[in-house]
Symmetry: C2
Subunit: 346 residues, 2 copies
DNA sequence: ATTATAATCTAAAACGTTTCGGTTGTCAAC
DNA sequence: GTTGACAACCGAAACGTTTTAGATTATAAT
């Protein structure tokens, strides 16, 4: 049923070789022959079998992306935007995107192994790096092309794009301190996650620099979901001495925290300040709009993808390591009662 | 460098055929031989070349999913959750997922063509069906296996999963009417989208059934983003006679509308009721929590994927058409001031 | 000793491309 | 009328599997 090179060869009387060469713009085919062949291909509705090309060319023109899901009902707007970034860049570069989902943990490496050893993809994108990341160790050891969004602690020398989360949170913390906050709580993320660790450091460092105590009771860990943000905020507001500001390690938890604060009858941005991290589109449209640290997620997706393609194509990498400076976006959730405009500080 | 069947054959002295058969659990291989071969495979670190398997087996064990993005900075939590559903189900069934992103419009069909004609995937998932959907016409005409989330108007007989959006919106509308609302506005979605059309119908039908006027001035179209929800609500609140309730075709627009209502100094759920559709995780955590029509997005992703796999495997389809009854989730954004608990009506 | 039967194993073709290393024919140059 | 250069074309191998259709050997039945 499907039309192959052979069919075209039969139809035109040329050999399979010539047909292939004609269609691939080789220059040892006469113009007339080429025309005949192209027309016949068109007429028969020929499309090359992509799998056969892959096998022959020994590459798949496909990038792999394994989304580290958390729990079954997983939904993080971060990933949609990131995916849009890499998806668009990949297709602009002529690559397909093979996506798999797997929670961090035992089976995860098997998926990587299958992709790598089976030559299923030409390169991999790794996100949510962990301080000691077995995925990265594995890929380095296999000399398999990959680019990470985020660094690790035991830095092997691999290409990555990252934002300076510590500086971002530091800026947000300082912003709160400058506005007179002293009891500032922090909803941390999993400390195995590199960014979770960095963001917490940004908070503790800045507190210390300002000679403020770092109170362990004011640091609660969440799992990045709104629900956990709510729960964390509940614990913080039940404290004998409640904080006047709550910082969260990501926007989703910040939104959860805001809901709790409001449920307790406080006004966000006046009684209690709340800040997030990421600047997902929702942040701008929450009520009140959320003060947060922006990282250009879509753009990062594009960049990571582009570095990976360069790496695969063997071109010299302009930039093996990209570190982005995040921007503090001040909105009403942390504004002093008077002001109400959106101000960008960065 | 990579280990092939040949290498194992050489190492063990058996033929490639036997090696292949041993590793694939054929029963005409003696236990001893099998053991030798498996051990050697293990020792050499053999992994089958997946591309070669694809070519030989004439199938790719891969499903295709082309995300219809809107605009460059695309971010819709709906898709993360949906993707998690199909991603998990696909890997449970032994399938990979090839994802591409493309906005609805000219180039879109080319992506479908490439996947189909190049035999890049064994089947396709289609979402955001349009009333006249060229993707579906194309796939039907090519007799290519696919399953849609959503129906079309000119119903070819293809397998789909859908929710009864009309009934869902009808239920929400009735809920508002029962609570005394008369001037109910509706933020519609693109009327080319099948679900956009259906949901609007649910609203107009119910208004008429209750002998309420359908006022065109109270129907505004948005593009499914929060931003457009805000804009739409702004127009509605600028009307000489403002509505007492605003229904949105999806949660994102509802959240946007809520922000506008609040910015105008109204209290959502008391002065103006707001309702959405989808029940994305955010809906529960907004302030106030959003009354909405729930569709089990993750579950739908699983179902669509499962039907597709059944279809590809040629098994008899238990259910070619699945229509889910959506559930109205009443939360504070529409509750009469008194009540405040979450009630499920459905 | 012959034949049937079962148990193991294998050569070769196939999947649809790309590409290496040619061959053939024409024409100009010497 | 040989030589070389060049244009146009093609056969066959290769990519790494799976599968078909036997081949070989051992075992049991006559």
């Amino acid at each position: 049923m499907p039309v192959t090179l052979r069919d075209i060869a039969q139809e035109t009387g040329y050999s399979v070789t010539t047909v292939s060469r004609a269609l691939n713009d080789y220059d040892d085919v006469s113009p007339k022959t080429r025309r005949t062949i192209c027309e016949t291909a068109e007429r028969l509705g020929y499309h090359p079998n992509i799998t056969a090309q892959h096998l022959q060319r020994q590459r798949t023109d496909t990038l792999g992306f394994i989304i580290p899901t958390t729990g079954p009902r997983f939904s993080d707007p971060f990933f949609t935007e990131f995916l849009a970034g890499i998806g668009n860049e990949a297709s602009a570069q002529g690559y397909d995107l093979l996506v798999s989902t797997h929670s961090a943990g035992p089976g995860e490496l098997d998926v990587y192994r299958r992709f790598v050893r089976g030559k299923r993809v030409d390169g991999l994108l790794v996100v949510r790096t962990r301080r000691h990341d077995s995925r990265i160790s594995y890929l380095l050891e296999q000399h398999f092309p990959f680019v990470a969004f985020g660094r690790t602690e035991c830095n092997g020398n691999f290409p990555f794009v990252d934002e300076d989360g510590r500086a971002g949170i530091a800026r947000a913390t300082q912003h709160l301190i400058d506005h007179g906050h002293r009891r500032i709580a922090f909803i941390a993320a999993d400390q195995d996650l590199m960014f979770g660790h960095e963001r917490l450091r940004g908070y503790t460092d800045t507190m210390r620099e300002n000679n403020l105590p770092v109170d362990d009771g004011l640091i609660v860990e969440g799992d990045l979901s709104q629900r956990s943000g709510r729960r964390a905020a509940r614990r913080l507001l039940d404290l004998p001495e409640t904080p006047t500001a709550i910082m969260a390690s990501n926007d989703l938890m910040a939104l959860g925290a805001m809901a709790t604060v409001q449920a307790h009858g406080f006004e966000v941005g006046k009684d209690v300040a709340v800040t997030g991290f990421d600047d997902i589109p929702l942040a701008e449209h929450s009520h009140p709009p959320l003060t947060t640290v922006r990282q250009p997620i879509y753009r990062i997706g594009e960049m990571v993808c582009q570095v990976l393609v360069d790496l695969i194509r063997g071109g010299p990498l302009k930039r093996r390591h990209v570190i982005l400076e995040p921007t503090l976006i001040v909105r009403q959730s942390s504004a002093p009662a008077a002001s109400s405009a959106t101000i960008s500080v960065g």
